[in-house]
Amino acid sequence: MALLEIKNISMQFGGLKALSDFSFAIDQGELVGLIGPNGAGKSTAFNAVTGVYKPTKGQTELAGRRIDGLSTVQINHAGIARTFQNIRLFTQLTVLDNVLIGFNQSGTHGLLGAIVRSPKFAREREKFKGEAMALLKTLKLDQFAAWQASSLPYGDQRRLEIARALATGPKILCLDEPAAGMNPQEKIELTGLIRFIRDRFGVGIWLIEHDMKLVMALCERITVLDHGETIAVGTAEQVQGDPKVIEAYLGEPEK
């Protein structure tokens, strides 16, 4: 059984069925993609799994434990972290603070400990700071640690958002259109980064992307959605040759 199993979830908004009988599985260290034209239900699938929406039907299991219907916070604690299509960093905080947030829930000093500055507080602060700096270093962001997050260049903001998600210690990392708004050079760097993260942290990565070249280059398995229906599942080659997929993209295999 895979680490994350999504079984026949459906998402209905009034009369609109945004997602129907969507099934999916990711294992540790896997890199899988979810593609489809605009309005196909990709982000809906993401939101239904990460707890922004509660699926109207079906269930999700992470390591055998049901997680559908839990809140975003509980799902994050269970081990699924995500990034956003439009970058949502804490712009007024420093780069280091953005990553430190991810370590937040593992602190045990409590509020009183923070007010009286207990030895445990000081110990944990140093420990988390070290871990956060190590993480920033791994993602080559350490020289920006004291910068305000909003002053980072665009590509590095993406990188920081991924670092922040990794800091929560996820088993599954969900990336929502990470290449959106990037130039070709940045996209090449991103491809390398995603592969590096998978190898370095051993997380399962679930990728939503519009950029076909990126998805085809990266993902071992691809699911194609159209109008909420799953129209194809397979490797890059299989999906590319699928007539249904070509039809969905109006005969344009490369957008």
Binding site: L89, F90, Q105, L111, A114, I115, K140, A165
Partner: protein, 478 residues
């Protein structure tokens, strides 16, 4: 990486100073405690603080500044750091003021009648009252919450379970009002049996605790050395006011914190008005007429009670500043700042949004309650009018001018704004003889248009420097 060299000198001295904890050790809290503990030993508090030459007027202004520091700083935690715009801070202040202001005169004077300061001699009595009130409040809230959960559980048994329960309750209420309401007179609510049982249980258990605790209360007062009975009464009054206000913050917080922005502001305003209206209609609390509160003074005749109160006010103010600063510079505070910036992202990185909002409200309200109790014991007379929207807005102005999220800025803004009015009003008294005539008349003119100036400052501050005038190095817009 796109910047040449990739290294910008962002570790400036100011920045380093700001991100360092206010005091990395125990010295400041220890000093505060020492000042407060030693105050009764030093005659009138004057010798200790070297304020023998201070006249009454300026000492009183200094007290007002200190109380405003506590109130504004506690609001900074809610409005500035956590970014939850609250317009109801005066309500929490009122809770603290009325708890302290009611408990001390009614329960603080039963030990020995030989002492002339009758209200301040029985700390055990005040403690008993506050504890009883707290226990009953917690128990009541627990029962109500338990019933609410129970009805919710019914929903699992059958989908329409909760609806049926509420239907039955509603029918019972209607029948009750119709059958007994007429005979009960003009107030149909008085006839509602469930409410009647509830209030009987609450007052009954309250009286039970008060009766059983008399012995313990007298023992507590007995072991307190005579010189420390008055300060002990004050400490209990402050803590009691703070804890009850924190509970009010919790009760307010849980249901209203799903709201954001304007809606939250309206809801908090509504709650503070609710608190005010409840006080206005409560007989024991003096209704709209108000309540006389014993001031904290040893020699009222000499008129230096304000000086004697000084270390207490500043002890609490420094404590508040320290607590707010240290929360801001801890993981919890970082989480609060994330709420301010982006709630959706905060949820996605595992920050429990509701829990953190409630935390900010509970602590902010608790500290405001202590400020309220200080205010009551300083001013000597409280009425509901003192805790209306004007007071809340005054505090919001202090926090906003100081800068949302800036603790040092709030201190400066609060001190300046608190000094502004009395300084301008008394310009003809303190203006030196050599000052030209237009200086005094100018000050009078400024005083006349004080509120206009406040408003203009506020508008300009929000437009130009939303992080405050004094937010060194942090004023950068996102």
């Amino acid at each position: 990486m796109s910047v040449a060299g990739g290294q910008l000198p962002l570790e400036t001295p100011v920045r380093r100073h700001l991100s360092a904890p206010l005091v990395a050790n125990w010295w400041v809290p220890l000093a505060v405690v020492l000042v407060v503990a030693l105050a009764p030993w030093v005659e009138g508090g004057r010798g200790l603080l070297g304020m023998g030459g201070w006249d009454k007027f300026w000492a009183q202004i200094a007290i007002v500044v200190g109380i405003n520091l506590t109130l504004a700083m506690s609001l900074q935690l809610i409005n500035g750091i956590a970014g939850q715009f609250s317009l109801g801070h005066a309500g929490f202040m009122a809770v603290g003021a009325y708890i302290g202001g009611y408990a001390v005169p009614t329960h603080g004077g039963k030990l020995g009648a030989e002492d002339e300061m009758v209200a301040w001699v029985h700390p055990g009595g005040v403690l008993l009252y506050v504890v009883a009130l707290g226990v009953v409040t917690v128990a009541t809230a627990g029962v109500v919450f338990g019933l609410y959960k129970l009805v919710g559980l019914l929903g699992r048994v059958h989908k329409r379970g909760p609806a049926v329960v509420f239907g039955v309750l509603l029918a019972w209420l209607v029948v009750d009002i119709v059958t007994k309401g007429k005979s009960a007179g003009s107030n149909p609510l008085g006839a509602i049996a469930a409410l009647g049982w509830g209030s009987a249980a609450v007052t009954g258990s309250f009286d039970w605790i008060m009766l059983r605790g008399v012995g313990a209360a007298e023992w507590v007062s007995g072991v307190t050395p005579a010189g420390y009975r008055q300060p002990a009464c004050l400490v209990v009054s402050l803590l009691g006011g703070g804890v009850m206000a924190a509970m009010a913050g919790l009760v307010v917080g849980l249901p209203t914190l799903r709201l954001r922005g304007d809606y939250l502001a309206i809801a908090t305003l509504g709650v503070s008005e609710l608190i005010r209206t409840t006080i206005t209609n409560s007989g024991p609390l003096g209704r709209a007429t108000g309540l006389s509160v014993p001031t904290y003074s040893v020699d009222a005749e000499a008129g230096v009670s304000a000086v004697y109160f000084f270390p207490w006010v500043y002890g609490v103010a420094i404590l508040t500043i320290l607590v707010v600063w240290r929360i801001q510079h801890s993981p919890k505070g970082r989480a609060l700042q994330c709420l301010r910036e982006d709630e959706i992202a905060a949820g996605a990185v595992g920050i429990d949004v509701t829990a953190h909002k409630v935390l900010a409200f509970v602590i902010g309200a608790g500290l405001a309650g202590m400020g309220g109790a200080l205010f009551a014991h300083y001013i000597g007379y409280i009425n509901p009018k003192q805790f209306d929207l004007t007071k809340s807005i005054e505090l919001v102005v202090m926090v906003t001018l100081g800068g949302l999220g800036s603790v040092p800025g709030t201190i400066v803004a609060t001190v300046l704004l608190s000094l502004f009015q009395p300084a301008l009003q008394t310009a003809n008294q303190w203006m030196p003889a050599w000052a030209p005539g237009w200086a005094t008349s100018g000050a009078e003119l400024l005083n006349k248009y004080r509120l206009v100036i406040y408003s203009l400052l506020l508008i300009v501050a929000i437009l130009v420097r939303s992080r405050g005038w004094l937010s060194f190095g942090r004023g950068k817009k996102a």
